[in-house]
Symmetry: C2
Subunit: 293 residues, 2 copies
Amino acid sequence: MKAGGYRRSTKGGLAASALILLLALGPQRAPADEVTWRKVDPANLAFMELREGQVVIELNPVFAPKTVKQFRQLVQDRFYDGLSFYRVIDGFVAQGGDGSDLGELSEVPLIDAEFELDWSADLPFTSAQKRDLFAPETGFADGFAVARDPDKEKIWLTHCPGVVAMARNEDADSSRTDFYIVIGQAPRYLDRNMNVFGRVVHGMEVVQAFHRGAPGNDGIIRDETAASRIRTIRLGSDIPDEERPDVYIMDTGSKGFEDLLRDRRNRKQRFFHHKPPEVLDVCQVPMAGRLTK
Amino acid sequence: MKAGGYRRSTKGGLAASALILLLALGPQRAPADEVTWRKVDPANLAFMELREGQVVIELNPVFAPKTVKQFRQLVQDRFYDGLSFYRVIDGFVAQGGDGSDLGELSEVPLIDAEFELDWSADLPFTSAQKRDLFAPETGFADGFAVARDPDKEKIWLTHCPGVVAMARNEDADSSRTDFYIVIGQAPRYLDRNMNVFGRVVHGMEVVQAFHRGAPGNDGIIRDETAASRIRTIRLGSDIPDEERPDVYIMDTGSKGFEDLLRDRRNRKQRFFHHKPPEVLDVCQVPMAGRLTK
């Protein structure tokens, strides 16, 4: 340390300082006593194991029934075991599979486009934001970020970080096996164009640690030994109860969750010297799940 | 593989398939021949070395002159060397320093609030989006994502992924030493409330690999040995020319960059069966720099 330079203080300040920041920035997660949590059906869980750790995906058969059906079959056939994330672009997506999406090279059936649903009053919907930049309205349906167009009576899963969707070629119906996980700022321009069929509910920090491809090569990883590799994927329903963690996600239909959205939309803490606009980015609401056992 | 299950194809499809996806999703980066690149002044570069790799930060003395001045002094005093990222919340921020932001515990001077600038016609500005969700208009100024309010004649750096800003306590003027890097969906509600003073131009995948804290503990890492630790930070201007990489960023005032924004706003590729809304999220434009040497 140079004379006249700044002296570093003791470590004693950490806990108190961090606490103040914590209070000031507001809780990133809802307090347990305000939001109710819902246990995820094990049939809708996929546990993916890699050298980097465990990633837990919640599948969404309501919005993407055919895609989920095929993915489940592929998982049970151990199709993905040993394959790698071969295209990983920092700030965009991590794409895994065997890279065989070209029709001639695979015997796996193609999947029909499942880009959006007709709106139905039966679908749960908790509004987050009207006149969102990319859609007339955004919100949450059973823990998933969604957007809808009330005039055209359509609803779809939005491309938020952690979303899992099938890659495809130019044809709408050309999804097959390879999938990507969104790892950066939400690429919402892909909304209503891809078979989104799940989201990571645990282990996003594992996905974020995946080996990246070179930007100049658009993320394709040439050195296969460097790529992050899937050891195995197992469906929750194929894991014995005593071995399977329970996964809980916030009940986005609960009063507590609505309160959480309201508090994030209208921040009253004295920390904010400039009051933030009273809007919500549906992709900026922390939605991680909880694992127990 | 089970009988009747899906057969995995050969690896032969990878290159062709990936190429199609690449074309289809549109270039994440601008082709080199369309956008001009600008060399960053070494005085505005900070090279941070960690076990996980190298992170290069571009400082912004135009928007945050006092903060940059203090940060440069701290770097030259080797204040940060050996300190860790002690609060890392996946999808939010990685915060590093000595955790001594409480006034009584540090001899380092406080920094005045530098939350926004008065608008000036001298400031470069390339418009990205009018009526953005969080601001009347967003755009780019010398490689940095910004937002502005023409009526109030203010302009500020936006909280996009990769942004570097000083932590603070409740007082506006309570920044001092500890800083955070945004690692998740842009927390734009913090805009105009923090001393944003730089952005990561290289090595975001290194930041994304930082050890996370437990969500239940709001990201505070209790086990110091697990935390990602700064070996050293050096200013570009303190590194001999022959050792220092050159860093180039896109010239956001160039015609090529305006074309890039236009092409991202108005996607015409046949890949898009549902044409995306003609809008741009200023934080979703890839803005990584290039290192040479």
